[in-house]
Subunit: 333 residues, 2 copies
Amino acid sequence: MNDDIVTLAHGNGGRLMRELIESIFARHLANPALDTGRDAAELDWAPGRLLFTTDGFTVQPLEFPGGGIGSLAVHGVVNDLAVSGARARYLTVAAIIEEGLAVALLERIVMDMAEAARACGVRVVAGDTKVVRRGEGSGLYLTASGIGERMAGPALGMGGIRSGDAVLVSGPVGDHGAAVMLAREQFGLRGDLRSDSASVLPLAETAMACEGLRFMRDPTRGGLATVMHEIAAATGLGVRLDEQAIPVREAVAGVCELLGFDPLFLACEGRAVAVVDAARAQGLLKAWRALPEGAGAAIIGRITAPPAWLVLDTGLGERVVRELEDDPLPRIC
Amino acid sequence: MNDDIVTLAHGNGGRLMRELIESIFARHLANPALDTGRDAAELDWAPGRLLFTTDGFTVQPLEFPGGGIGSLAVHGVVNDLAVSGARARYLTVAAIIEEGLAVALLERIVMDMAEAARACGVRVVAGDTKVVRRGEGSGLYLTASGIGERMAGPALGMGGIRSGDAVLVSGPVGDHGAAVMLAREQFGLRGDLRSDSASVLPLAETAMACEGLRFMRDPTRGGLATVMHEIAAATGLGVRLDEQAIPVREAVAGVCELLGFDPLFLACEGRAVAVVDAARAQGLLKAWRALPEGAGAAIIGRITAPPAWLVLDTGLGERVVRELEDDPLPRIC
C-alpha cells in the first residue's frame, strides 16, 4: 500500500476510504450542512421554485492555466443554474478516481473546488467516491449537481425569443477551449492564455433585472455557435451574427488559426449569452460592462425570420455556419 | 461514423450529441419536468425539509442477473434518501460514456433506468452526457443525484443510538455482491443468484412509523459489517451480532466459501438495516415481515457498551470482525 497514490482499496467502503474522505474531501469542504457520516444532506427550504441540475466533468489535463477540474465543476453547476435564473445554494460532488492518482493532486483539486465554492457562496453538502482500475478512467472524473433558488425576474426560455431580438455575449469567447488545448503537451505549444472559468452569477443577476430578457445560456461545450444552433433548432428562427462584433482575444484567434479551430465552437466557462428585446439591448450592454465579469461584453447579432440558419456576416459577405459534426476537441470540460 | 456505437462526436455538443440525447435519454425518461433544451429543471417545492444526495455507479458488468447499472443508479439514490427518512422526488443522471459503447446496450440501460424510476415514483428531471476515449472508461459510468421530501417520523442519526438497542436487517445479505461476482466471466461460474437491487422505500416508510427508531442505512459497498463498523466508530459503542441470526442465502454462502469472501462484507442493494429501541424491535420486525420487501427480515444483534468493536457471536464462541482493509470486490456498485 502506497499512501501517496489512490489504490482500489480506497474505494471499497472500508477504513482507507473513510480516511481519504475525511482527510481530503471533508476537511477542505467542511461546512455545517456536510456530514460525511450520512447518506444525504438535510436542508431547510423555503417555499418557492427550486432549480436542479447536474454536469459531468472529464477535462484533460486536470489542471490548466486559469483553473482545474475542481473549480470548473463548481463554476459549471453555478453557471447552469445562473443562466436558468437561479442562485446556486447547495452542491453535491461525486468523484470517479482512477487507481494511481496522486493523493497530492487530488488534494489540490479538492482545495481548488472548496475555494470556488466559497467564492460562489455555495456549500458542498454531500459527495461520493468510487475508485476504478488503472486504464478504466483518466485520473479523475467529477459529477457535480446543484440546487438553486429562482431569482425574481422574467420567465426564461427559448419559447420567448422573437425575430428582431438582440444577442449579447458577456466577454471574449473561446478562452477555456484554447487554454486547455495549449495545456495539452501533445501540441508542443505554450502561451499565456488562461481559461475564463468563473461564475457568471453576477452577469445573470444583472440580466434578470433587465426588462425584455428572453433567454440566457453559458456557451460551454460546442461554444457560442452551438448555443445559436440550439436557438435556431428550437425556435425555427434564424440567427445572424456580426463576426467583427464577436470578441475573440488575439491569442485565441492565433491558436485557432495555427491549429485549424473555429473560436465560435470553442468552450467558454465564464461567459453568458443573452437574448433580449432589441429595445433593451443597449441597457443590458451598459449594465454588463459596468461589472468586472462583463467588461468585454458586446452586442453580437440578432434573431431573424426563418429559415433556422446561423448566418455569419463577415464584413466581406456572409456564410452559413453549420452544426458541429465531428469532434474538434474532446475532454474540454 | 458508425451509428451502432457511441463515438467521440456524440460528446461534442453538436448534432450527434443532441440526437443521442433525444433518441435515447429524453425518449425513455420523458416526463413533464424534463426538458433537454434547458440547463436546469425548475420544480415547485413546498416548504419543509429537503434531502439531497449523490452517488456514482461503476458496476461491471453493466448488466447482471436481477438488474443493471441503470436501475441500480435509481435504487441507489432512492435508497440513500429513504434510509435518511425521505421520499425521493426528483433525480438527475450524468453519464460518462466510453467511446465504442453499443448504442443498443445504452438504450437497454436507459430503459431499465426509466422503468425503475416509474416504479419508485421519481422523475429524472435533468441529465448530462460526456464521451471519453476508448481506454479512459469502461463502457459507462453513471452518477445519479436526488432530492427527496422528509417523511414524518423521528430524527435519525447515529447520535441517537444507545447501548442495548436492537439491530435489524430487512432480508438476506450479500445477494448483489455475489450476483455481480458470478456475472463476471473470469470466475467461470454461473448460478441462479440475482442481485437484490430494489427500492427500500416501503421498508423505510414502515420503520419511520415505528417509535424508537434511531437510525437506518442501506448496506451497499462494504456490506453489513461496514455499516456496523461505522456505527461503532461514530458512537464509541460496540456492536454484537448473532451469526446464526443473520440471513444469508445458501447460494451466497456457497459462493463465498468457494471464493473466499465473507458475506457480511458483500454489497446489498435492496436491504435496509435499522437500529431501534430494544423494546420496539419485535414490533418493527413484525411490520417489516408483513411487507414483500421484508419477508426475510431478522433481529440480528444489539448495540453494547464500549469498546467500539464489532463482535460476531458464532454460536461456538465469538470473534472480533475487523474493518475492511484491502479490496475484496471492486466495481460492485
